[in-house]
Symmetry: D2
Subunit: 290 residues, 4 copies
Amino acid sequence: MKTEQQQLRLIASCPDRVGILARVATFIAGMGGNITEANQYEDVRSRNFFMRYGFVLPGPESALDAFKKDFETVAREFEMDWRVRNVAYRQRVVLLVSKFDHCLAYLLHRWKVGDLKIDIPCVISNHDTLRELVEWYGIPYHYVPVPKGPDAKQAAFEKTADLIDAAEPDTIVLARYMQIFPPWLCEKYRYRVINIHHSFLPSFIGAKPYHQAEERGVKLIGATCHYVTEDLDQGPIIEQDVARIRHSDTIEDMMRLGKDVENTVLARGLRYHLEDRVIVHGNKTILFNR
Amino acid sequence: MKTEQQQLRLIASCPDRVGILARVATFIAGMGGNITEANQYEDVRSRNFFMRYGFVLPGPESALDAFKKDFETVAREFEMDWRVRNVAYRQRVVLLVSKFDHCLAYLLHRWKVGDLKIDIPCVISNHDTLRELVEWYGIPYHYVPVPKGPDAKQAAFEKTADLIDAAEPDTIVLARYMQIFPPWLCEKYRYRVINIHHSFLPSFIGAKPYHQAEERGVKLIGATCHYVTEDLDQGPIIEQDVARIRHSDTIEDMMRLGKDVENTVLARGLRYHLEDRVIVHGNKTILFNR
Amino acid sequence: MKTEQQQLRLIASCPDRVGILARVATFIAGMGGNITEANQYEDVRSRNFFMRYGFVLPGPESALDAFKKDFETVAREFEMDWRVRNVAYRQRVVLLVSKFDHCLAYLLHRWKVGDLKIDIPCVISNHDTLRELVEWYGIPYHYVPVPKGPDAKQAAFEKTADLIDAAEPDTIVLARYMQIFPPWLCEKYRYRVINIHHSFLPSFIGAKPYHQAEERGVKLIGATCHYVTEDLDQGPIIEQDVARIRHSDTIEDMMRLGKDVENTVLARGLRYHLEDRVIVHGNKTILFNR
Amino acid sequence: MKTEQQQLRLIASCPDRVGILARVATFIAGMGGNITEANQYEDVRSRNFFMRYGFVLPGPESALDAFKKDFETVAREFEMDWRVRNVAYRQRVVLLVSKFDHCLAYLLHRWKVGDLKIDIPCVISNHDTLRELVEWYGIPYHYVPVPKGPDAKQAAFEKTADLIDAAEPDTIVLARYMQIFPPWLCEKYRYRVINIHHSFLPSFIGAKPYHQAEERGVKLIGATCHYVTEDLDQGPIIEQDVARIRHSDTIEDMMRLGKDVENTVLARGLRYHLEDRVIVHGNKTILFNR
């Protein structure tokens, strides 16, 4: 008979003090838990401490509830922001997209073959173009056009927010969604909305970054995966990468070459987020990616 | 008896027209020359044509003069900007540096072991710090402090320009020279002054780019080799590259990690320039690096 | 009225001699053609000359036939191996695959959105697993199991060859097809069969390269796109790339991370091949990828 | 008054068991220590546990001795292999080199500017070529030619070993030392001898890897930093990287381009080793490089 056990993950941050790790590790050991992964970081300037522990807890699923209840005492003692999650939990991820389908197609394929262990309750788009692709995967597709006027735009985003809410997502991915989220939507899903921007930020913020790159004559193009905030393309960066181009590459070539970079940067950034490897600190991220 | 021959390089640009290549190739063949390398690029928007041919011309060194004289006819016919150079010619390269010595040490070492086939008439610095290193290589070192006031600064740059002039350089390398060239100096040595900037331009223009990178929380740092123009860090880009950093890297770590990127980007950019692989077009470069 | 014209590509190799380029360029100019791209390479040791010219020829499609007929004289004079191709020609590419679908899914998606300008007459597989995916794209799927015994295997490859022949392909891509082509099949489609191998060759030839990589403890995994020859994984290499792994990555992690490298290496290699940028010379390739 | 404190590092491995981390963390906290870095890895197959903790211990330098004495109890309880080191300790590193000087010049420069916090008691070479460079840095240079015959070779390696012993090194770096260490020398300094091999191992083991790379027609060249063992170029790999080449690159070009890769791979590998980030496990390394 296989003993029941839960693979859990604890993420916490608090003001730095002597003995945090000992206290947490002893608590986990006291519950019979075996720590299998440990990451921590001390921000010397702000005197903040960040940690991420993976551990195996014996017992049934309800052991997680007991753990949470008891850990509250430790957390209060050290003034922690914390969360604990069952590794087996499949996050619900809503995808938003406009017309470019490469990021969407990449994520859907990786999801279908089991590389991406999430549930996708629906895809929302401001165009009706990609319905057939999405529905082939058996996923509901919602078409919510976003008109130009401020009132119509507001109504469209309210409808979008309703659809998102109904899907009860843990995470929202803007997989080349070419609309700017209004501040209230950013606020509502703070640090749960991931965007892929097709430039190496902070270069080429805003519209048409490949055109800007071509204009400036850079020798590498890039992509950036970041959390969406009220400041366009200025949110905390999760992941970035670049690809080499040459003088003879047209903007169309850049767009084609950029697709692979966008896909892998988004996939890596999303994976880091899903595995609770990203902690936002100020406008930067601590990334426990090892 | 080994037949005398010259390995030459022809670089030219002109308005696009049918038959340019045929005319030039036929001319070279008519002189007994054998083309061994050919690069060309047609800029579709501006209708400009750019070429770089490597060829072997039989005859003594003076054959180059004859070639130049006769080619003038072809050049005029096609309204060409052009130059031809003996590959064996060793460019004279003056190096300017402040206190950070990694780029300087890298170039001097590569020069000493014969990887960099140039002459270095002198090194000029606004500090006296690196004299011992430079003089160990047997190269004259000129210390020209650059004071703060506009008049003193002007005098310092005039002295710097005099020293550069006296060295009769083909190319000037700012190997981490932390002073901004005045416009008249930029003008004087147009597209002959190469700078290494320690960021992935256009991100983090100006002072302390690693501090800016740390502030923004980027996941990659970079370096850019470019021609110096009147607009700070805005000149035509020759080469760029990046290196991965992590949240725990301090500014000091970035500076240390950045050294390798700066060195290789500067070395590659300088090599492209020395081998006449770079043609400036507007504020961009055509880079025949293959 | 838009003048009719053809965008053509000439690929040729011959023993090195003075005046090849002049002769070819003059011939093209004589036909009214305008050369827009030129690549050439002289192999000093074998004294062979390789070239690839892109040019615009005025006139209707039949101008290509006239060009071919007349160029024969030049070709004979210089003992050239040569071919000329209309850039607008869409190659017919047959894909072979086993069970891993990432390369197939990648190529099909890029084909559907127009990034890959080819026709795909059919997909052939030794498993029936990927039928649904392929047929969603409207492409015929042939299931040809390859049994173990030599006779049955021979029969299976004969059937495979018949299906390939019927599809009249220019190029055959083994997109993770886990069967070894028999020598007669290699011979039949010499330098027209492209394979993607999931290691950085020559490391980890043969089966289960990720297992071999894990066993050796390498810090980077790779992928290699090459022409298939009688010697397993030893054919001329077209393209390679790598990705970083860490000690905690399992073989499953490597397989997942390797997918992106395999996809981009195969996509780049195939593109180079389709654009006639690859010339096989001995067991190596000359790659005019700029 | 600044309180005295030591920045220490504990590296340990043992059979996996519940509560290791809690026991160690509690022990450190009990000594008043504050853990600032934590890395750990559980090898699932061998059921081994590996850890690396950085922590600040209050008290004078002698506190380290007290720590070591008391920790012995914990170590015995968990059957640990372990060591603890003061981060301020400067390792003594002996460099061995033959004629190629790029790795040597790189390490010496980085050492002189303070990027590499080691002591270099001497450089040993089987050639007298690089004496001037080494002595400019004020470092003793020992010339020990290695003749061909087995007896003379044995004598040469005995003399080399004597010079190494006299220098009392923690670590020995073969910075392009083109002689094969005899098994008894490998045994004597087990996992303390670091070599840089100029290929992406396991490709191109042994002599002239760039020639082998050219022969095979690879599209990337590489370098590998590894521990020296009795099996030539087969020891545990610490770090690797690659650089792109093209068909027109000669072996000389590869050697020149390879220098930058060799330098950075050796520098990174050495740094990981010096910072106790590398733990050998079987013939692989666990690399706590984050």
